[in-house]
């Protein structure tokens, strides 16, 4: 009987690994930018293209950079969460309108509400590449020194907001 124990143990361990593997989300690729300075950019503002928005303006503040687009379906899922967050005035949310036209972007914000202090237009997706964006929406938590502390891939949910983003924001603000 004892000789069958080892194959059985190996089987159970293997099955355990495979089971855990099944529950992981392969779309969540860890970003190499965490703990690194947020790539600097200087883009035209969505609502007033004559004005620029520079990421350096945000030095000294903890802020969220939310990558969105009017064509992005899951952005509609996180939108109410962002709207509620913007009303609480805990942390400023800035938008990066990724690969979108100005008209479509503005129309979507008119229709669904605008949670952003302002949005910058990344029309050709260049800044998106610098930030390693591969699935919109993505949200970055950036600290006072301009370092990326957290990246949320996919929609911000109530759960991720309360378990990760808000505690992290509070901690970074206290620094």
């Amino acid at each position: 009987m004892i000789r069958f124990i080892w194959p059985f143990v190996i089987f159970v361990v293997l099955a355990g690994f495979l089971y855990v593997g099944l529950s992981l989300n392969p779309r969540e690729v860890p970003s190499p930018l965490i703990g690194k300075p947020a790539p600097e950019f200087n883009l035209a503002q969505l609502h007033d293209p004559t004005k620029q928005f520079t990421s350096q303006e945000m030095k000294g503040q903890v802020w969220l950079l939310n990558v969105w687009a009017s064509w992005c379906v899951s952005c509609r899922v996180e939108h109410p969460v962002l709207m509620a967050l913007s009303r609480q005035n805990i942390v400023p949310i800035y938008g990066l309108d990724y690969k979108d036209t100005r008209e479509a972007g503005m129309a979507w914000l008119r229709e669904g509400g605008n949670p952003y202090v302002l949005s910058a237009s990344d029309t050709d997706g260049r800044i998106g590449i610098d930030y390693g964006v591969y699935g919109v929406p993505e949200t970055y938590v950036i600290d006072k020194e301009g370092v990326i502390r957290y990246k949320q891939i996919g929609p911000v949910t109530q759960q991720s907001l309360h378990e990760k983003i808000l505690p992290l924001v509070a901690e970074l603000k206290a620094k």
């Binding site: 690729v29 190499p32 390693g132």
Partner: protein, 153 residues
């Protein structure tokens, strides 16, 4: 007139061909180099496709980015570093040997060695279990006789 018409007709397919060729890359050598590099890179949107074969929007942009960087004179390694800095090691189909990929690279060999060691131990054990059968002289003679008779048949 007729000759001119025939001549024009002869030119027709040439025009069509030239039109199609324009849609391809402006620089075939660069395009070949780009595809060669992009085949080693993973598209993050459709994860098991290479950057060369993916039709996703992001892959399109990244291929364009690679082309532009090649035009700027960057070598393949510099371009790979550029992409890894933004998207992580995950963009590489060949994961680099690092402390946390050691198990991935050498784990199979460790398993193979362990299996071989297990096999050796088993074989040794069996060797001691199966004692060499001892034949008395009489038995040996009988056996030899039997073998000889069967040979005659």
């Amino acid at each position: 007139m007729k000759k001119v018409l025939i001549l024009l007709f002869c030119l027709l397919p040439t025009f069509a061909y030239a039109g199609e060729a324009k849609d391809l890359a402006e620089d075939p050598v660069l395009e070949k180099r780009m595809i060669g590099l992009a085949e080693k890179l993973r598209c993050l949107v459709c994860q098991n496709e290479s950057l060369a074969s993916s039709r996703s929007e992001l892959a399109n942009d990244l291929r364009q980015e690679v082309r532009e960087q090649m035009l700027k004179g960057m070598n393949d390694q510099q371009i790979i570093d550029y992409l890894v800095a933004r998207y992580g090691d995950y963009v590489l189909f060949d994961p680099p040997v690092k402390s946390y990929t050691l198990l991935l690279w050498y784990g199979p060999f460790v398993l193979l060695l362990a299996a071989l060691a297990g096999l050796m131990i088993q074989l040794r054990k069996r060797k001691t279990k199966i004692a060499e059968p001892h034949l008395s002289e009489e038995d040996a003679k009988r056996a030899a006789d039997l073998l000889n008779t069967s040979k005659d048949l």
